[in-house]
Symmetry: C2
Subunit: 706 residues, 2 copies
């Protein structure tokens, strides 16, 4: 773990040595060129043992030969020379190193050993190392860019920090940011992350005062515990973390156990974890940039009620559709606003939200802005965010002052608006240099494109809402820690005892070993009854013919007992069978699944879902990292596609979501109390009807290695 | 309906008169400028009764005063003057008119009347009229653009035809196409569609030999029957229609009846219809252009097995994720290919598909192309489409010949490849003028951006697959046309008779009017039994307490009869009650819903889905326009989210999807036979277990107005 303060030193070098500089290497050329172009005041020393002049500069034979302090060593020597060079750098008092050279951990065991030696040496000598196998970084805020790929000027400084676990995409992302007029604070490609990890850089960016939001391209989150801390710090600081997490398709590799395998796949856990931690997730590079760009450039809170001013009915159609997708509402304009718009707009227009000022804008270019003025006057109360679609000309018109004055007027309206006004371009094409100059001059940020823009607004609204919610109180520590003798419950009967002891309501049941006992038990507990084989060796009781439901008369109970005994003997002849559990039948409610499974990276994860087809066919489950509070679980239940069933769809009585959540929290506490050896605790079904909630079936699996 | 040949005349004017030309109008200026810039050889006559010089040209007082034939009149006069101008145009022998002027049908009843007069006059005088309230068109193939908004040259001619029902978006779409290097054949904004409709233009573009694919931005499809014909013609011609249909959020406005209301919402029908007709649907302007651009520029068939060559691991991650989303597979490279790649690439690389040639491409810019060569040699057999990610420099390098030669070599490899090679840019930023010049010079098309590019590939593969499928034979004409006496079945009992007569299997049932009759019937039909109130006035029997299921003993049947009678009397005291229908209980199978509902635009629509929560909570239904063949319905059933249940999920026996489809087709035939007065015929549930399929409940609703 590298502290933010230490990284600040790495990222703001006052002098740089290019070690292994040579005219033949494009990396060397680009890095030299980037440093010279953006930070002419930062001394750059080319170091090479055999050249005299490189990139037109005199060459130093070694680091010591420079004779001046070196803040950053940018290392491009062959793989095998990297460790010796690091030693020389340490001798010369260098504290910060970028290693561009590849052939380390990514290349196999030999490279991995070399990488470990490099890290050991750096640690020993108090150096930090970015890379290897990375292109370096771009500090746009301070305009210094020891970065091995070409950068087309200008290097637009601004509020967005970017970190990428892919060096190859760094230039793509930089280019996409520039062409969307997004200002960058720092852009860091972490390469092999031998020392400095993406998590370190995230922590740095969250702490960095020049950064107001962070975009991250992540292949893996190596230190989930620290990531949790950083994400929480980002939420506290009001800086959105926007993440494009790749590797979705690798999900679901884990062998599935019980039904939970399909639910708690790796990627599903990561997605749930990120959401729970207040991280904004996106699914494309475009959304990564447009969404983080919005959150960086518009830190004010955006509300869910939107007004839009556009110059095309088609744009209005798209905005309306996409708003619905994002859960954004487009309220009707207040009467006074509609009346005001009717005055500004031509007679054939229709002053509705979203507003099309019509093609008449070609005749009178002021109507767009005047319409915006009227709409701004109508806020707040009705809408709390305004989108203003504007097309800045690509090329300077005959009279550039006209354009500049128009956008100055827009800026003035934006400034006096009681609610945020987001300027948006209808096209997602690049912002031209001329358009950029106009926007920079007047200080406006333009959201790029309708669809990606609406996605950005949706995500931003969501982020602000989640951030404003009171955080659920932490639950009390697990009640049952230790379980008396420390014995692990293994059978369902033992598990029922443990759950009951922890206050989890469990359907009454009795173990019967004969048909007669079953009839007695069923009659005592109340008909109709459910019978279920009790065996530590049979996980899938239904498939083994070990379950009989809805037995209404004593004879049916006796017959079912015999049938179960016969089926199980056939299906699982080697299984130990303790008998048959007899319970009263629960009907008329909803069956849920509640499980806790240990994810290898994120620890215990709670899954809640509706039982049966919902989980098995639709994989409709909501996940939460533990610990959870009751409010968390209520929210999770609300996210289910089948949530309407809990609210009483199809003529049923609604289920108390609060009560289900309380029971799920109690189950989660039991799971946490069972310690690290627990693999899965699964309640399926958890039956709920109104305020009544009961565990009907429970399964426990311990980790194999223990 | 305007025939394609007639539109060809409109779209290739050899002379244009700008009627109402004036320096004060930007529309006039832009149109004049566009005509002068792109078609200097086409005479342009400015017509205005009072000006002498407009746009630097001498002005004609009237159309007659021109003294030369005029192919196209481009009308910009005030709204009230349009009809007189049209009369003058007709007198002058003009056959083609664009009306830019607004204030017609879109502005209210007065405007609508004016619009009707204009159309009547045009029809009478043999003229066709594009607009009003439209910006005209761009014929890039012939480089003539009577179009009222600015066009930045060059006007890149190519294989994509574009039609838009939004004039305001036309320039946005043009700009987005240009910046993605997509070549345009024609771009037409249809305005109010007083005469020339988007459907007319679609028919024209499908027939146009310069157009290889069509992109359409549609707000509504006004003539579904003709649209069906055109879509079919497009599939036959091998030209993809790519549609962005807006107005999704307006769906579900229709009052819902029974359960079908939630399913056969307008927009759901349009989406199903488009899919059934082989139309490619997209959800953003970006996808509209990138997908149609691919299909226009790469008409060869694309297969589902993809190999990718990139210069970044991050791009590979995204491609892998997006490929999974699109159902595209990334097969492992054959051994020989992997070995060949190992020779070309640096030692630390990993020759897997998708391939990252590594950042070493900075050192040796040839490795990317050499890797492509090896991958091309490995096809076909393993993969049938190759993506080659390439970044053409934005600006000319010191030695432009190097770049040109590199892309010439790529082009040669593309040409010799046995499978299509798609060149793709990692960034979705604009293609720079220099990059465009290189691509034009060597004749390569670049797919814009990874994510939108993968969407395009997914849609294109899908389109080619659907196109290659044998079309299902048309079903035989509905068997039961006329129903004997022409009496409309109104009660469930009558409906059961009609269904049975048409060969639809219906669960046996008997009507009982006393508890004793119910017991007799239940015993005769076989216990357990189901009881259901029979009443023409009760549509929701369960809600009225009119249903009892799983009655195993005679006493239970008698009790249930009494309970139903009591409940119904309480819930619906005014309802006419014929008695109670007694049926044997069907369990252990799957319950489906099959319904036919008349959509106001598209006619009868078949919906198939799983019953219960699947339809009511998840709205999981697949729709098909009638007529359908059995294969259509099999495909529709396969699209359901719950399709796994039909295949035997959760330990059940699989259902014969073929048999279900046959029954659904028979039900559809009954519905068609019932004629236009039918609103809804709904079978819910249709019970299926293995080869057994039976109607358990049926509901019919006739249209109100008849």
């Amino acid at each position: 773990m590298i502290a933010p303060g230490r990284l600040a030193e790495l990222f703001t070098p006052r002098s740089v040595a290019l070690i292994g500089a040579t005219d033949r290497s494009m990396w060397s050329r680009y890095t030299h060129q980037n440093l010279r172009a953006f930070s002419p005041e930062v001394p750059v020393y080319c170091v090479h043992p055999r050249h005299d002049v490189v990139h037109g500069d005199p060459v130093h034979r070694s680091l010591e030969a420079i004779g001046a302090p070196v803040d950053l060593a940018y290392v491009m020597v062959p793989t095998t020379e990297v460790v010796p060079v690091l030693a020389q750098a340490a001798d010369a008092g260098v504290r910060n190193v970028v290693v561009l050279t590849a052939g380390f951990g990514e290349a196999g065991p030999e490279g991995r050993a070399l990488e470990e030696r490099a890290v050991a040496l750096a640690n020993e000598r108090g150096m930090i190392l970015l890379g290897p196998n990375g292109n370096g970084f771009i500090n746009a805020a301070d305009q210094v860019a020891p970065y091995g790929l070409p950068i087309t000027p200008p290097l637009h400084a601004g509020p967005l920090g970017i970190v990428l676990q892919s060096g190859g995409l760094a230039s793509v992302v930089l280019h996409m940011a520039t062409s969307r007029n997004i200002g960058i604070s720092r852009l860091v490609a972490t390469g092999n992350e031998a020392m400095v990890t993406a998590t370190d850089v995230l922590a740095y960016l969250v702490a960095d005062e020049r950064t107001r939001a962070v975009a991250a391209f992540l292949e893996s989150i190596r230190d989930p515990d620290r990531f949790r801390e950083i994400a929480t710090a980002a939420v506290d600081a009001g800086k959105a973390l926007v993440v494009l997490k790749v590797g979705r398709s690798a999900a679901g590799q884990q062998a599935a156990l019980a039904h939970t395998g399909a639910i708690v796949g790796d990627d599903a856990v990561v997605r749930a974890a990120l959401r729970q931690l207040g991280v904004v997730q996106v699914d494309s590079l475009e959304d990564l940039l447009v969404t983080s760009g919005l959150l960086a450039h518009h830190p004010q809170r955006l509300g869910r009620r939107l007004a839009a001013v556009t110059a095309s009915g088609g744009a209005c159609d798209i905005i309306a559709d996409r708003a619905t997708d994002e859960g954004i509402v487009l309220p009707e304009f207040p009467e006074a606003t509609a009346a005001g718009l009717a005055e500004v707009l031509p007679a054939f227009s229709n002053p509705r939200n979203p507003l099309d000022v019509t093609g008449y804008v070609v005749v009178d270019s002021t109507i767009s802005h005047r319409a915006l003025e009227v709409v701004v006057d109508g806020a707040p109360g009705t809408y709390d965010t305004i989108v203003y679609q504007a097309t800045v000309p690509q090329n300077p018109p005959p009279d550039p002052a006209l354009v500049l004055n128009r956008y100055r007027a827009v800026r003035a309206t934006v400034d006096r608006s009681p609610v945020p006004v987001l300027v948006q371009s209808a096209s997602s094409s690049d912002i031209s240099p001329y358009a950029r100059s106009v926007l920079d001059e007047v200080g406006l940020y333009v959201l790029n494109g309708i669809e990606h823009g609406m996605t950005a607004i949706g995500r931003a609204v969501d982020w602000h809402e989640r951030r404003a919610k009171p955080r659920p109180r932490s639950p009390s520590p697990p009640a049952g820690e230790g379980w008396g003798g420390g014995e692990r419950p293994r059978s369902e009967a033992e598990l029922r005892t443990v759950l009951q002891a922890a206050g989890v309501p469990v359907t009454p049941s009795r173990l019967a070993t004969t048909a007669e006992e079953a009839v007695v038990a069923a009659t005592a507990l109340g008909l109709p009854a459910a019978l279920k084989v009790a065996s530590p060796d049979i996980a899938h009781k239904t498939e083994a013919g070990g379950v009989a439901l809805d037995l209404r008369r004593p004879e049916e109970v006796a017959e079912a007992f015999a049938a179960i005994a016969a089926s199980v003997a056939r299906a699982a002849p080697a299984a130990r069978v303790d008998g048959v559990l007899v319970s009263p039948m629960r009907t008329g409610g909803v069956e849920l699944l509640v499980s806790v499974r240990r994810d290898p990276a994120w620890g215990p994860v709670l899954a809640v879902g509706l039982g049966g087809v919902w989980v098995e066919v639709l994989e409709d489950a909501a996940l939460r990292l533990l610990p959870v509070a009751v409010e968390d679980v209520e929210e999770a239940l609300g996210e289910l596609r089948g949530a309407a069933l809990l609210r009483g769809a199809r003529g049923r009585a609604p289920v108390s979501v609060r009560r289900v959540a309380e029971v799920a929290v109690a189950i989660a506490a039991v799971a946490e109390g069972l310690g690290d050896a627990l693999d899965t605790l699964e309640i399926n079904p958890l039956w709920a009807a109104g305020e009544r909630v009961e565990v009907l079936d429970a399964l426990i699996v311990w980790r194999k290695e223990e």
